[in-house]
Every structure is written in C-alpha cells, then in structure tokens.
Symmetry: C2
Subunit: 345 residues, 2 copies
C-alpha cells in the first residue's frame, strides 16, 4: 500500500488541540490507550532502541524513534525544569509518522499536548491491568501540566472519582482544582504527601524536579496500593524511595531504557522488572492478591508515541483536518527538484 | 540568551523555496558553505554521533542529531531509490534547530531542498580547498535531483564553467541540460562515463542506486583530478572502484560514520582518512602537488545540516518570513497545559 506524499499533514499545536476538543478529551485518551494496548501486544514486531538523549546543564533533549514494517515514528521532546521561570513549558514535543516503504512523512504534528494524553493513557491502561479492582481514589502528587490528563484518564478508564492533591507549589494545586471543577471531577487539597496518600487505592507521582527526590517513603505505602510513578524519567531524576521498589512487582515499558532513566536506576542491573508486553501478552499474571503492592515505573517509551501518532493520523483523516502547508515538496518530476525553485530565480 | 518560544518558525517546502529564490540560489549555497567552514573549524565544540538509521527492504530512514552549547539540530531524511517510480522524491527531509538552554524549537522546516544546497555547498567547499587551482571543468555522473545544485555550487564557488554530463537515464540529462540553460551554464552530454570524465579537472559522482556499483574505474582517473564522490552514502551503496581510494588522500566528514556508509566501507577499518576539520584547521596540508589525485568521500554529516539550519534561520529572521502556525503551543501559564484545550471541550 503506497500513499501519495500529497496526503501529508502538518498539524500545529492549535490544530491538534482543536482535533482533541472536537472528538473529546476522554475519548481521545481511551482511543490512544486502545492503540497502546494493541501495539504492546505485538511488541515483537517493532524495531526498538533507547532514546537518543543530549544533556545540558539546564535539561535534556531527546529523539525517540521506533518502527514496524509499515510505519516509522519519532518524537522530539525536551525536559527543562527551569523553563517555567521563563514562561515556557517544561516539556515541548513534536514528531512524525512516516511510511517505511517510501520514507514519506504522513503526519508531522505538535506532540506537547499528545505527550500528556499518551502518558495518561499508558498510566490508566497499566492501572486497569494491575491496580486493585474497583479502585476509586487516587493521590496526585505533583499538580503541574500533566495532572489534569492523568485525572481524566483514571476517571474514564477506571472510574476513579476521588482525587487527593498535593504540590509544593500551592498555585499549581489551585489551577488543578479549577480545571477539575470544569471537568466535573472532585479534587481535595492536602498539605503533605503523607496526608494525601492516606487511604487511597492509587498513588500517581508526577513531579518535574531534575533531582533524586524521595517524594514517596516506604511508610506511605499500604497493602493493596498501586503506584504510578511518572516523574522519575531521566538519569538522576527519581521520585520513589528505593525500598518501595522491593514492595511488589515493578512494571516497566522497555527495560534497557528504564534501567537508565526510571526509578529502577537506583537498583542493580539485574533487579527484576516486568515489561508491559509480558503483562499484556499474558506472560505475567499481574496482581494476584488484593493486598499486593504494584508499581509502574513509567518513563515514556517511543512505542506510546507511535500509537498516539497513529491515533492522531486516523482522527485527522476521519475528521478531515487539513493543517498547514506541506513540509515536504510535492514534485511533478521527482528527479527535477530544481523545478521546485520559483521561476523568479 | 533566552528566546521566547513565540519566535518559533515552521517553514513549509514552499516557504523555504521562496526564501532561497528571494535571496538567490548561488548566494544561499555560498552562505551555507561559509557556515559549514566556520562550524568545521570549531569541530571540537560539537557533540557528535553517527546517524541513527532504520533500514527496510526498500530504503533507509535516518535521524541525524548534533549539538553545540547553544543549539541542537536534527534532520529526518530518507533514501528510497524506487520512489521515483511512484512519483516521489528519492530523498525527502525536514528538521529543526532548537535552543539547548530551553529545548524550544526555533525553526522547523523542510530540508529536501536545503539538503541539496548543503551537499553542493560542502562539495564545492572541499573542492575549493583540495582541487587543482583554476579547475574549469567538471564531469557530473548522475543527473538526478541534486545535479543542478552541484553545478551552481561549483560554478559560483570555484568558477567551473564546463560541465560534462552522463546518466544512464537519457531523460535525466535532458532535464539537467534544460535547467543549466536556464541558469546560463554550459552542459554537454556524453554517452559513457569514460568519455564524460576525459580531460576534466573534477569528477562528481552523484547516482542513487542502492548497490555496490563501480561507476568510476581506476583507468578513468588521471593525475591532478579531484573526485567528489557523493552518491555512495549508505551501507552497501558505493560508486568508486576500491582501488581509486589508494590513488590519493581521502577526505571524509566524520570517520566513524564514513567507515560504515562511505566509499571507505570497502576498505579495512584502519584505512587512512582525513577528516574535514583537520583540513580546515590546517592540520593537513591538502593538495601538495598539481598532479595529486584528491578524493572527497562525501556521505553527508549532521553538522552540515546544523550549519544550513542556522543559515535558513538567520535568513528567515532577516527577510521576515513568518511561516505556518506554531507547531508547539505557547502557554500563558506553562503549568496549565490543560488551558490550551479549546473551551468547547
């Protein structure tokens, strides 16, 4: 199946936001979660590599490529915690979905918003598989840019209804409370992590500090809890006390990358982890007892962006969103690239 | 120096072509060559890596990242020789120039046209350093998409005035002859490689076949010639008979990459090569005698795209080209990504 380069779409941040709003945020997170589940189930079909990271004193810039036989996808993404002080997002991202047979880009688009959606989709998907059935409450530790999307994901995919909020930045929690109210969701502010996590079914940690922090201590964890650790995602950046990782099975996306970037960077190279595909292909039983503690050490893997880009591409086709002028020239005679120069030359 | 994300530009293929036409093709190639020379002279300041290639039965897709302390750049580029049959360019490319301190993309643009310009700029720059002084004639073996740009580069940077053309595809030479006439340049068709190269100062091979070909034989090479080997640029894709590489010093962009992708893939790992920075920093004398044969084994390195992206960025700023809507959202409160969703939600 060969597409013409003329079907290429370039979607701006505004285009993507309009697309998500038109289809519905919850529906998009659910749809992306379905794609992610389907893609992890065929894990063996992908050519995978750890992301290519370029570190600087203030942050990191990464390229995340992945391919199956039909599609190639990559994401550009940064992580600069001090950006906030400059009025810039901590995380900005864009990427492309391309055709393996021709190399033609089919979709180039903003992934800043989509990164938040696919992270929430992955978090909720994993929790649906391993959190205690009928989980109703979740602590959200870190109330920054991604927190609303986590709440929407867990509400719509798991029917979580009660959100316990904590952030060292009081205004971040203000903002999250306002946005949850707009969504018809119930949030409650707590003044410490210990208080916020008390009695909840699920704890999501999603903070941005580029340090080895211990946001969660072993004493915070009670039998049956599921921990969704999202913010520990690059070397030297962790959120969980290392002993928490001994309290139950630790699920990761792609072990070679997680051992460098995830919470498990605190553990020896042979520390046992379960890759998501093992869970989704039924090779690991997941939770076997309501009292199990389960841990998802999420760092974000290229396959999730692949799944999300396919989703955005399908949605843009279905809803007929045209986007901006093509990034790649369309040539009547491909050997005559020179003809693409305006005659003014 | 911190830029605002609001200065981000997204330039379509049409935008880039208009920009090049407005400033002049020859001036752009010369300007890019100046940037490339300046950047190779400060080679040690760059964080370099070989490109990340994903191969498939029909072609290759590559990501080429590079960074100094101020900027990060990458290019997406494919190589699919059979695309022509589908009416698609063999090579399509786009990329970005980003700020190291914030990760903010400053420029995202088509690089299909710019790849041809920067390849011609690099070819002409190297020839200016090592080809015989007062070279006036060049054989162009391969008259495809990039051939006009090579001709313009060598005409304007070296004052080459006579172009000997050969291609197995008769129509490709027709097209090149037409385009050269538009540019006021003199081309002459030959019916074999051996005839085309006879008596010239410089031979440029720039063919697209994804095979180990021997476009040039040792007998074709006469004392004093400079060989600009451009088309041998991925594993299993070469153009020169291996013995030609023993006829004079072989210049490469970045040895670890060239040993995998270039003509020197035909030679042992310890085959002597000279990296361009050694030439441009004066650590290698280049040509020492009018009878030397010199060989540039060009594969295309990320630094050339970095130099070209900086050039396009400066030019777009100077000429005030706005481009398409921003690929990355601009947020009043960076922690409130959710606010970027339209209120319709």
């Amino acid at each position: 199946m060969i597409h013409s380069a003329k079907t290429m779409r370039c979607l701006s941040a505004d285009n993507v936001a309009a697309l998500v709003a038109q289809h519905g945020l919850a529906a998009c997170i659910a749809g992306i979660a379905d794609n992610i589940a389907a893609d992890f189930k065929r894990w063996q079909e992908f050519e995978k590599s750890s992301r290519l990271a370029t570190h600087s004193p203030l942050g990191v810039i990464e390229l995340m490529p992945i391919a199956d036989q039909q599609y190639y996808a990559f994401k550009y993404v940064n992580g600069h915690p001090k950006n906030e002080q400059l009025g810039l997002p901590t995380i900005m991202a864009f990427g492309a979905l391309c055709e393996m047979d021709t190399g033609a880009p089919l979709l180039v688009c903003d992934l800043t918003l989509i990164t938040a959606l696919r992270t929430a989709a992955t978090s909720a998907l994993v929790a649906k598989w391993v959190a205690r059935p009928n989980s109703k409450s979740m602590a959200l530790i870190g109330n920054g840019a991604q927190s609303e999307f986590q709440a929407v994901g867990f509400h719509h995919l798991l029917e979580v209804t009660e959100f316990h909020l904590f952030d060292v930045d009081y205004k971040a929690t203000d903002k999250l409370l306002r946005n949850l109210a707009k969504l018809g969701l119930k949030g409650r502010r707590f003044t410490s992590v210990a208080e916020a996590v008390q009695g909840v079914d699920i704890i999501t940690t999603i903070t941005a500090d580029k340090t080895n922090a211990t946001i969660l201590l072993p004493d915070d964890i009670k039998p049956g809890m599921h921990i969704n650790g999202v913010g520990g995602d690059c070397p030297g950046k962790t959120e969980l006390h290392a002993d928490i990782l001994d309290m139950g099975p630790v699920f990761v996306e792609y072990a070679p990358q997680s051992r460098i970037e995830g919470e498990v960077q605190q553990k020896p190279q042979d520390f046992p982890v379960i890759e998501l595909w093992e869970l989704l292909q039924g090779r690991h039983p997941g939770r076997t007892n309501p009292d199990n503690v389960t841990i998802f050490d999420s760092v974000g893997f290229a396959l999730e962006d692949f799944s999300a880009l396919r989703y955005v591409h399908d949605l843009a086709n279905r809803l007929g969103v045209a986007g901006s002028p093509a990034l790649i020239p369309s040539l009547p005679d491909p050997k005559n690239l020179f003809s693409f120069m305006p005659p003014a030359l």
